[in-house]
Amino acid sequence: MLTYLLAFILFAVGLYSVINKRNLIKIIMGIIIMEHAVNAFLILIGYRISGKAPILEKGTSVTEFVNSAMDPLPQALVITSIVISLGVVALMVALAVRLYQHYGTFDITEIRKLRG
């Protein structure tokens, strides 16, 4: 249970950064931290004590493999989610750079004041 709680605390740190910071780059970093926390939580769900990586080796029988391998389904989901997060980060950075070019600042309260 404690391990799940640590992943939740990591998520809360990211949430704090998103809600409470005024710098656009800090907000993007908060979103990245939240993505990391969710990925870690999904992998923690698939963990089995004294399990092995879900890669079959020569000479292991299939029944033994089923009894000792980690859960492969969360891993397959997370591997796509990580790469998508990189694309999303590129999109957010592009948005931030355009905003900086337009307003000359990364401060969101300033941007809200200047508007238009």
Binding site: T3, F8, G14, M29, Y47, P72, T80, A96
Partner: protein, 182 residues
């Protein structure tokens, strides 16, 4: 298991430093520490595919963030964060932890996955017939490219769309010069 918790605590500390550090460069580097610490944790959790992906993606993220932000005079935006936002985030945190504690009781305890608890799960099917039906020894890749190839196609589409959005945002000044929309 203690080792995994130590690495998770390390990532939490690195995340706190990344959020609170005053200079942009040091906070981006601390963000890198979060990713690399998590990648070592993934290695201990028996997911080498994800460890490799995490390391490589983290490097590219850092390069993109540093290229985009360093030297823009953004390093110091601090102070007078509003009190209402802080109180609101505290309330959100309390609500979130209440929900989390509620749902956590439904999970199997740490160290037991769904395979151990239920008798018939999709993961068991994939582990049992991965080599026979898809032909690859790496079951994660069997799931990605054979059993759930639709997911991978959709993922490629999402990545394509995100990249297209980024390019469209950056495009006008690059190719239309001064005459672009300002």
């Amino acid at each position: 298991m203690v080792l995994i918790q130590i690495f998770l605590v390390f990532t939490i500390i690195a995340a706190l430093i990344a959020v609170e550090a005053p200079s942009a460069l040091s906070s981006i580097i601390s963000l890198g520490a979060v990713g690399f610490g998590l990648s070592i944790a993934f290695l201990w959790l028996g997911a080498p595919d994800i460890a490799i992906t995490q390391v490589v993606v983290e490097i590219l993220t850092l390069v993109i963030l540093i290229r985009a932000t360093i030297g823009k005079g953004v390093t110091e935006i601090r102070g007078n964060e509003s009190k209402t936002l802080l109180i609101g985030s505290l309330i959100l945190f309390g609500l979130g932890s209440a929900f989390f504690a509620n749902y956590l009781s439904a999970f199997p305890e740490f160290g037991k996955s769904a395979i151990d608890v239920f008798s018939e799960t999709p993961s068991q099917f994939y582990l049992k017939f991965g080599l026979e039906k898809a032909g690859g020894a790496n079951v994660v890749n069997d799931i990605l490219l054979d059993f759930r190839a639709y997911d991978t196609l959709g993922e490629a589409t999402v990545l394509f769309t995100a990249i297209l959005g980024a390019i469209t945002l950056l495009n006008k000044d690059v190719f239309f010069g001064e005459g672009g929309e300002k």
